[in-house]
């Protein structure tokens, strides 16, 4: 497939990736001969119908799963052959995740949720508190630091989720349908926030969505259909 490639060496490079799942005797082919590059500083939207393999692809980029075939390179490092343990450490250092259903720990308040990834670093309590405060300020939720998830609105919970995703200043922010469970207004606020993180803080973002309104905010959109990239639209 000849696609317009981003300039400079890519931050994410996916080459010849194939992925299938074994369900009993049945082999489910999800991704086939897939190539993709993401440049540093890009805000990429992955679009496609349900079941087209968007989440599977995002999981491969984020080191949550390994491809059946092909290579996944992030920031110059091949991650498709790392062990589970190595992948866990790698994710802690390089990846921030934002999920559709926010997935906050219900037993922890907002700041404790944001702090979670920092528990895997060598920062002491005071340093962690500093980073948490900065991340919460960035998403505009300093005044909700002590609130538990169940007392926050969906939009607020997702902003806590984003603060958790960026608190370690990861190489890459991966979002799986971050606005999928929100109304238009709250969704727009989340998209504004992601745009700001991309433009003002230079965060590289890959966002899965099936909402054209959301993908319109990205700097580039890749369409996935039955496990293959069908076309790309650069803004």
């Amino acid at each position: 497939m000849s696609q317009p490639q981003p300039i400079g060496s890519p931050l994410v490079h996916i080459a010849g990736v194939e992925k299938y799942f074994q369900r009993g005797a049945e082999k489910i082919h999800v991704l086939a001969e897939l190539n993709l590059a993401v440049a540093p500083g890009e805000f990429l939207a992955l679009m496609g119908p349900s079941g087209s393999g968007k989440s599977t692809l995002l999981n491969l980029i984020g080191g949550l799963d390994r491809p059946t075939k092909g290579t996944v390179t992030v920031a110059g490092e091949r991650i498709d052959q790392l062990s589970d343990r190595q992948l866990a450490d790698w994710r802690a250092r390089h990846i921030g995740f934002v999920f559709q259903l926010y997935n906050l720990m219900p037993v922890l308040n907002a700041e404790r949720n944001v702090e979670l990834p920092l528990l895997l670093t060598h920062l002491n309590a005071a340093q962690r508190a500093q980073h948490v405060a900065a991340a919460l300020a960035l998403v505009g939720l300093s005044h909700r630091a002590k609130h538990f998830p169940r007392t926050l609105s969906g939009g607020e919970q997702q902003r806590v989720g984003i603060a958790r995703g960026i608190v370690t200043d990861p190489t890459l922010l991966l979002c799986d349908e971050p606005t999928g469970d929100l109304d238009r207004k709250a969704g727009d606020e989340i998209l504004d926030l992601l745009c700001a993180l991309n433009r003002e803080h230079g965060k590289t973002i890959v966002m899965v969505t099936h909402d054209p309104h959301a993908s319109a905010r990205a700097s580039r959109t890749v369409h996935l259909f039955k496990g293959q990239i069908t076309n790309e639209a650069v803004k």
């Binding site: 994710r91 999920f99 997935n103 037993v107 990834p117």
Partner: protein, 381 residues
Amino acid sequence: MKFAHLIWGNLTRKKLRTTLTLLSILVAFVLYGILCAVKQALIGGVELAGADRLVVRHKVSIIQLLPESYQARMEKIPGVAAVAHQTWFGGVYQDPKNFFMQSPVVPEDFMPMFPEFLLPPDQLKAWQQTRTGAIVGRNTADRFKWKLGDKIPIMSPIWGQRNWEFDLVGIYDGAKKGTDTTPMFFRFDFFNESRSERARGYVGWYAIRVKDPAAAAEVAKRVDAEFENSPAETRTEPEGAFVQGFANQMGNIALIVASILAAVFFTILLVTGSTMSQAVRERIGELGVLKAIGFTNGQLLGFVLAESCLLALLGGGLGLGLAWLFAARGDPTGGMLPLFHLSTGDLVTGVAIALALGLLTGIFPALTAMRLRVADALRRM
């Protein structure tokens, strides 16, 4: 421990379920503690028994009497250092429920034989000067609020079916933690002259101190040989075996206690195990998120194990604490179980059982959490 709030948060997430599980564990450990104290009361005397003491009783049974004249013959047997006798008085103070043991003894023989009874020297002197004098252990003295100088009436159904009256001249303490301080002792000379002529000159059993504990078995044989073919043949055994034989009459206590506890702990294992596996099952998605963030399989295994161990140790600790408080108040039966107490060994074993319970109930859910494939877990949100 920077993960403590996460583990504590998970433990307290389902308050009712955690409380109920905690209560079942607590009840099991209270039961454990009390049964241990009962067992200690019944067989604890074995451990406290003097290694250098033998007990000589009538060959037929403990209730058959032996002649007082045996003492002089025993003292001449090689290897014997000292001899003292006791006799079951079986008296009643006010009410048969107020049970405690009483025995006439010869103070000069008896006190050196049993150094675990600590009697102030001036009280011993007073006892030697008072024919009707009696001494009693701290436990019984406190129980009936007796003071030195009190007159103690004891009704004896065995010795003449009448009231005996003693003057309390001494209160002794126990030298060791488990020493039984319930018995009362009074003077044999007073007792001997006051009972019917027919019964005079007989005693219940003898204690012998041997010169060398290693040779105790040979001394015992020599004693029994000495009285062979006499009207009152003897049976001599180490004090520990004597106490054990006493306990064995009540069945194999340790086995009964162990069986009850095994049943209780099996139930608790199921209760706690199901709580823990439920706790992990309803949290699959969150575990997936933690893995996505970069928590390792080993860390998640540790979190679940820490949670189950915390649950078991909290319940177990509270239960053992309550049992200990209960046992610290002393014999709950009012005299039947003078050695009732929760030993440090049983407490330590209890904590170890709690820890084992925590590990055992946590390990399978913890392995589930650990083996969870992160992409699958996230799909289950």
